[in-house]
């Protein structure tokens, strides 16, 4: 005699994942005896009602029943369910039990075709050329073109991206405060902006150089504009890449400094950084226009202000459309990057959708990433934190990820500092721009690798 207990049966159900049925109660140590034809049907009745409870789970119940049948067949006994049970207990209305089947599995894949959704934008980002070669009245060996996109960044499957983002490295006309991990790369040139610029280009592969004339700040050296721009002349001599010139951020002094810079760099098509709403943007933009330069339109993370300033530059100064670049402000990873990213992404999408106040190339002061304590602090000031590990490794990656994130929002020009960050981001842009051939032989190898 084979005893088939309820426990076993429930285990069976469990195996087919029907254990989560609630509201089904079976009491007592019910025991089903399978013995020849003399089966106590009243014992099976509760089982039947149990199964009838399942309703939605009939499929699984069937599998269980099937199992039960096969089991009884294997034991050489007639299957109890082949007979009409006549339960004595309150007769549940028994659902029709379909033919018992094996778990039904398809033998072939259902063929489906993936039809990628296509996106086409009506707008196009303006192309802005930085630098001028001899042919155009300058002395640069090459020029850099920003913009020209007709799709989101690196969506080359929508439209080709004519120019990949460019990278400028920052140079200062007096020793700035720098994180140690950055400073060690510039220690030998900190007192010599021309050498500094040369190092950026020759050694670290900068496409452009940004010269920040911070010594002009009245709170620092208060260098007169006419004197400060001599450094610009030195840098223009020292390197042959396109140049960006920045002031100190002082609202009163910057217009004068940038105006002077525009004069001495006549013909070189530099970019003046920057015109802002709270300083004399008109004077700065007029200087750029008069001497054939580009102006950087800088606002504080506000798409509407960006639109306003751009309109002023276009309508009041009548800046040519090919001479405006925007800096909507960069915040570091962990310190407002979400705002910066979304603000830039919105600006870019608006430009592509046809807003001609916003379809200009975007610039990012990615060096800001070094303001994040995770980039420069020796370790976490929070005791419960997992130790932060060597900061030499944290700093550059902080700058990389800040830049990478913003590149996906549409940034065309990055102002950076750490040579490793510059190199890695270049590799990323070249990769997503389709300029790096090859790959690994088997991308699935990690599944089995024993390290």
């Amino acid at each position: 005699m084979k005893k088939f207990t309820l426990e076993e049966f429930l285990d069976l159900l469990k195996k087919y994942n029907v254990e989560e049925i609630e509201g089904v109660k079976i009491e007592g140590d019910l025991e089903i005896e399978l013995e020849g034809s003399s089966i106590d049907l009243s014992a099976i009745a509760p089982l039947y009602s149990l199964l009838s409870e399942f309703g939605n789970f009939l499929y699984h119940a069937n599998m269980a029943l099937g199992y039960l049948q096969r089991l009884s067949a294997a034991l050489g006994i007639p299957t109890p369910f082949a007979m009409q049970p006549q339960p004595a207990a309150p007769a549940p209305s028994l659902p029709a039990i379909p033919e018992v089947e094996e778990l039904k599995l398809p033998t072939e894949l259902v063929k489906a075709k993936f039809e990628p959704y296509r996106e086409e934008y009506p707008g196009r980002i303006e192309e802005v050329v930085l630098g001028a070669t001899r042919a155009d009245g300058g002395s640069r060996e090459y020029t850099i073109t920003l913009g020209g996109e007709k799709s989101l960044a690196f969506y080359t499957f929508d439209a080709p991206q004519p120019h990949l983002p460019a990278i400028a490295i920052d140079v200062f006309d007096r020793k700035p405060m720098l994180a140690k991990a950055v400073r060690v790369h510039y220690d030998d040139v900190l007192d010599n902006p021309a050498e500094w610029a040369r190092k950026c280009v020759k050694k670290f592969g900068a496409d452009l150089v940004t010269l920040h004339l911070i010594s002009t700040d009245p709170l620092l050296d208060n260098t007169p504009a006419s004197e400060a721009v001599k450094v610009l002349e030195d840098v223009l001599q020292a390197v042959k890449c396109p140049i960006i010139v920045g002031g100190s951020g002082n609202k009163e002094k910057d217009p004068e400094v940038l105006e002077k810079a525009a004069e001495v760099a006549e013909g070189e098509r530099i970019m003046l950084a920057s015109a802002t709403l709270d300083m004399d943007w008109e004077r700065i933009a007029n200087a750029a226009k008069k001497h054939g330069h580009v102006v950087l339109s800088w606002t504080q993370m506000d798409i509407n202000n960006q639109k306003t300033l751009n309109r002023y530059l276009l309508k009041r100064v009548e800046m040519p459309r090919n001479s405006i670049v925007m800096d909507p402000t960069t915040a570091a990873l962990g310190y407002g990057l979400d705002y910066a990213f979304t603000n830039m992404e919105r600006i870019r999408i608006s430009g592509l959708k046809g807003d001609t106040d916003l379809n200009f190339p975007i610039s990012s002061g990615t060096t800001n990433a070094w303001g994040a304590r995770e980039a420069w602090m020796v370790d976490s000031p929070i005791e419960e934190d997992t130790p932060w590990g060597p900061r030499e490794l944290r700093g550059p990656i902080w700058e990389i990820i800040t830049g990478l994130t913003l590149s996906l929002a549409g940034v065309d020009l990055f102002m950076m500092m750490h040579p490793v960050a510059v190199a890695v981001l270049k590799e990323v842009f070249n990769t997503l721009g389709g300029k790096v051939s090859g790959g690994v032989a088997d991308p699935g190898e990690w599944i089995f690798m024993e390290v």
Partner: protein
């Protein structure tokens, strides 16, 4: 979700304005279903009636269908540590928000020796990074079968399961996978992966053990075919892996596949590919180079797809230079842009300060506030912290933008009556607000001390500057 207007939702609600949900009207509740701050299950009368009345039940089911997210939501794991992935509605976060942060899973493998395995598991489960008032943590484990031995794999999976974190089971051999599932199916692991080669066995496993399954194929026609086949056979919990190629054209192709999948699902309304997407930054360890190169590239791949639609990831490196930037980026990208991240302005007493202790001021931008607050608290610094309402802007930006001004500082000092709480007249302002020093002194008559640029340095700064001479 399919419905866009509260009106469409309203028709499915009881329309009694019973307020049980906490909103004044059913219409207001409907609007919150649309912005996904509540679900139909939060309408208690509807749920109660659905239990009794089959007609109402049908209505509720219809509403659930209509308000289901564009991208299917898949739960991995059980209980408090379970991870929800997918469930997204939009392609760009400013269009609404992204909902379920990318799941971070760290690999272990079954040929590791026991000690190394334990060490690695411990590091993952104990990981903590303080950020904006909370500790960020890691989600779970991806247990790879490298032994090819079902028994060994089962053992190791059992061991890893004891850490109580969700798991991805990585084994292409159905026998090994089956062995592991027999052990931990009730933990609801995600199985990885059904391919063109093994899909039939994996379909059987997914049905039998009712676990979510990853489908892996580089060819998107094949991937979609797999998804349709599994769905038709009754598998709902599907994750798509379009194969992460770590380098060159391969990575470029991966970028394209991931974007095409998500965009076609949401903008192209192709339900057959509307599932969460798996990315495997661990593939960066297949490239040539030293460990730093590989781990940097792993962080790069992960970040690329945290921004662009990766819903779940398998990582190798648990070094901080990979974990910290990626976990921070994940938090940033998945922060709801609809709610400004700010805290209540006012005065906070830190570490039971006395009237002799210093007064600091910072902004109500949550990140700034929590950074300063935690630096003071954990540094054992006693003091008074004034929190200025800058509309949720940080120090640098609000000083430049005019939300952090001398007159607002004065107002806050008067409101909080800080002058009555201390017996000195010194205010420490953030280094980044140095330019306001004179103006605040003029406005308030207090002596203003310019503190360090970073609040992590307040402790050292106080040693030199407090009490003031």
């Amino acid at each position: 979700m399919k419905v866009k207007s509260p009106l469409e939702v309203y028709n499915y609600l009881p329309r009694t304005n019973c307020k049980e949900c906490g909103f004044d009207t059913c219409m207001s509740f409907a609007a919150h279903i649309i912005d996904r701050s509540v679900t139909p299950f939060d309408c208690k009368p509807l749920v109660r009636d659905a239990e009794k009345d089959p007609k109402v039940k049908k209505k509720l089911e219809e509403l659930l269908e209509l308000t289901a997210p564009e991208i299917a939501e898949v739960v991995i794991g059980v209980g408090d540590t379970a991870v929800k992935i997918g469930g997204e509605e939009v392609l760009h976060r400013h269009e609404l928000t992204f909902f379920n942060p990318t799941g971070f899973f760290y690999d272990v493998w079954d040929t590791m020796d026991d000690k190394a395995l334990e060490e690695r598991c411990d590091r993952v489960v104990t990981y903590r990074k303080f950020y904006v008032g909370n500790f960020l943590t890691l989600d779970g484990f991806a247990v790879r079968c490298t032994s090819g031995d079902p028994k060994r794999y089962r053992e190791v999976v059992k061991k890893v399961a004891s850490y109580g974190k969700p798991m991805i089971l990585v084994a292409l051999d159905p026998e090994c996978m089956k062995a592991a599932l027999e052990e931990v199916a009730d933990q609801r692991p995600l199985i990885y992966a059904a391919t063109e080669g093994n899909w039939r066995e994996f379909l059987k496993l997914a049905l039998e053990y009712k676990v979510p399954v990853t489908l892996r194929a580089k060819d998107l026609d094949v991937l979609k075919s797999l998804a349709v086949t599994f769905r038709q056979a009754g598998v709902k919990d599907i994750v798509l892996d379009p194969v992460t190629e770590p380098l060159g054209e391969g990575l470029k192709g991966t970028f394209e596949r991931v974007i095409q999948l998500r965009r076609t699902a949401i903008a192209g309304e192709d339900r057959d590919v509307a599932y969460p997407i798996m990315i495997t930054p661990i593939a960066a360890w297949l490239i040539e180079g030293d460990d730093v190169t590989k781990s940097y590239w792993e962080a790069v791949i992960a970040s690329m797809f945290i921004v662009k639609y990766g819903d779940i990831m398998i990582f190798r490196s648990i070094d901080q230079h990979v974990v910290m930037p990626t976990i921070t980026l994940r938090f940033n990208i998945y922060t709801d842009p609809r709610t400004p991240v700010q805290v209540e302005p006012g005065l906070r007493a830190i570490n039971n300060p006395s009237p002799d202790d210093p007064v600091f001021i910072t902004t109500n931008f949550a990140l700034t506030y929590y950074t300063v607050e935690s630096d003071l608290t954990s540094g054992g610094i006693k003091g008074w912290l004034l929190v200025l309402n800058t509309g949720g802007l940080g120090v640098e930006v609000s000083v430049a933008g005019g939300q952090f001004t001398a007159s607002k500082v004065k107002e806050l000092m008067e409101e909080t009556k800080i002058g009555e709480k201390v017996n000195h007249r010194y205010l420490v302002i953030p280094g980044l607000a140095a330019r306001l020093q004179g103006a605040i002194e003029d406005e308030t008559g207090w002596k203003v001390l310019v503190g360090p640029m970073d609040s992590g340095r307040i402790k050292g700064w106080l040693e030199k500057n407090w009490p003031p001479k």
